[in-house]
């Protein structure tokens, strides 16, 4: 899984991200190696999701340099998996949870390759890891919001990617669900995957190896103890951590 211990999986220098001509965040610098967890933290509209979409290749960078696994964002679909903040309209479609997870393998299968035992095994393992195996045969539209979220996370895990881009994967989950997701993130790091994750939870960010504090600009970047200081948090959110 590890490509080169010295080479960052996700690297950005002077990266400007935004929509059209409007930059949401300018000057992002980042170097995340295999096994790293990068936490993106900030207020709503601070640019966390925009940065993740740029790293996923869904929107073009507005300026600066960015490389994911040594290439342009979006160039390595098999090796990068992205979990959007609001996984979309599959809720209304006639899809079983198992079918939604199987779609996570499409990047490997391409147009014509038949699904093999390894593909099915990756899906079953992902369902089991997220606890979604218990309702794998049910239509997604009949599941609760939290259950749907686990199914979408299982879809991401089924890709067995080297870089995971997760947009608020713990939002709206109960404490047990949140702990389960964070456990999965740690397991992914342990196998050498690089995880870039946005969150509103300072506790989640404290687990990271690198934190980017965003407020439509980079307020601070570095290790959690350097970034999650009272001064930075007051500057970003207008309050400090409760002690």
């Amino acid at each position: 899984m590890r490509t080169d211990a010295a080479a960052p999986s996700v690297e950005a220098r002077g990266l400007d991200v935004g929509y059209g001509r409007h930059a949401v965040v300018r000057g992002v610098a980042l170097a995340a190696r295999p096994g790293a967890l990068v936490a993106l933290i900030g207020t709503n509209g601070s640019g966390k999701s925009t940065l993740l979409k740029t790293l996923a290749g869904m929107i073009p960078a507005l300026g600066g340099d960015v490389h994911v696994l040594g290439g342009a964002p979006g160039a390595s679909a098999r090796r990068v998996a992205y979990l959007p903040q609001h996984p979309a309209s599959s809720h209304t479609l006639p899809l079983r949870a198992r079918d939604v997870v199987a779609m996570g393998r499409y990047a490997h299968l391409g147009l014509l390759r038949r699904s093999r035992a390894a593909d099915r095994g990756a899906c079953e393992a992902a369902l089991a890891r997220t606890g979604a195996d218990a309702y794998a045969a049910l239509p997604l539209r009949e599941l609760s919001g939290g259950q749907q979220q686990r199914v979408h996370l299982a879809q991401v895990l089924a890709r067995e990617a080297e870089v995971l881009l997760l947009d608020e994967p713990t939002a709206g989950l109960d404490p047990a669900g949140r702990a389960a997701v964070l456990g999965i993130v740690e397991a992914e790091r342990a196998r050498g995957a690089t995880v870039v994750m946005s969150t509103h939870d300072l506790g989640d960010a404290e687990r990271a190896s690198h934190v980017l504090l965003l407020a439509q600009r980079v307020v601070a970047a570095g290790g959690p103890h350097e970034v999650l200081t009272d001064a930075h948090l007051r500057e970003c959110f207008g309050f400090t951590q409760l002690h």
């Binding site: 479609l93 006639p94 147009l111 539209r141």
Partner: protein, 290 residues
């Protein structure tokens, strides 16, 4: 009972041909319609179905093949709908609606120049199912093969795009060419079907059986199978209604297809109400991670 339900198809060759043609149309529409319904392209499909009119009118005026005219017109509509649904700053329904009435207006202007168009245009709008010939069946079978091949080859990107274009992109499938391919598949279905059920009614076969499938099925493949079954049943029942009650054949088939959807919707709503007061069950599962 057999005299009522089967004998007309045994005794009358033209009715057998009509049944064969409409079943081929049903299966073609079921395949394309499944993705039209899942991706929410019903209005774009409607616009394309009506937008073929100017091409057909020009073809008739020039003495060329109406199928060729419809194909050219459909290509213009596909390009227009493709650009609008991806790039318009207006709501896509507004922009598609304007393109739709614009193309329809051009068609009406051309046809208004000659009285000889009246009969031809009626056949274009409502089809000529009872006048189907062997060559029409061959064209319809070729269209079915083309649509089936496109849907099978592109089933993965089509499904991903039905969920979310972003998911398609991050799975390595660029949405723009596959969106164009999906519109081409719908265009082929419409052009091949207008001779039998007509441009006004082809949308009914494209949407109603697939919508019935989407209502009752738990898997996308099942949506297509239910749609094909509903379409084939509607073909048989519609032709019988048409034969026994002296009604328009294409319209009877579409009416049965829409009635099947209404029945499925009512039964589905009833089942949900009886099940748990309208809410679908949420199985309780303990969270864990390995």
């Amino acid at each position: 009972m057999a005299d009522l339900l089967i004998a007309p198809f045994v005794d009358l060759p033209f009715l057998r041909l009509a049944l064969a043609a409409s079943v081929l149309v049903s299966v073609t529409c079921a395949i394309a319609g499944t993705f039209v319904v899942l991706r929410g392209l019903a209005f774009a499909g409607d616009a394309m179905a009506h937008g073929v009119l100017p091409g057909i009118a020009v073809a008739i005026l020039l003495g060329a093949s109406p199928v060729l005219g419809a194909a050219l017109s459909a290509a213009v509509m596909m390009a227009g709908v493709g650009v609008i649904t991806r790039r318009s700053r207006l709501g896509s329904d507004t922009a598609i609606g304007l393109l739709f009435v614009g193309m329809l207006a051009v068609g009406v202007m051309i046809t208004s120049r000659s009285e000889s168009f009246v009969g031809d245009i009626t056949r274009v709008l409502f089809g000529q199912l009872l006048g189907v010939r062997g060559v029409d069946l061959a064209w319809q079978a070729a269209a079915l093969a083309a649509v089936g091949t496109i849907a099978w080859v592109a089933r993965r990107p089509f499904l991903l795009m039905s969920v979310d274009e972003g998911l398609a992109r991050t799975s390595g499938f660029r949405p723009a060419p596959y969106h164009a391919l999906m519109l081409a598949m719908v265009g082929i279905t419409i052009v091949a079907s207008f001779r039998t059920v007509g441009t006004l009614l082809v949308l009914g076969m494209l949407v109603a059986p697939a919508a019935t499938g989407a209502l009752v099925a738990r898997r996308v493949a099942t949506v297509g199978l239910v749609a094909a079954g509903c379409g084939a049943f509607a073909s048989w029942a519609g032709l019988l209604l048409s034969y026994h009650l002296d009604l328009a054949a294409g319209a009877s088939i579409v009416l049965v297809a829409v009635a099947l959807f209404a029945l499925a919707a009512a039964l589905s709503a009833l089942a949900r109400r009886r099940g748990d007061g309208g809410e679908l069950p949420h199985p309780h599962v303990q969270g864990h991670a390995h």
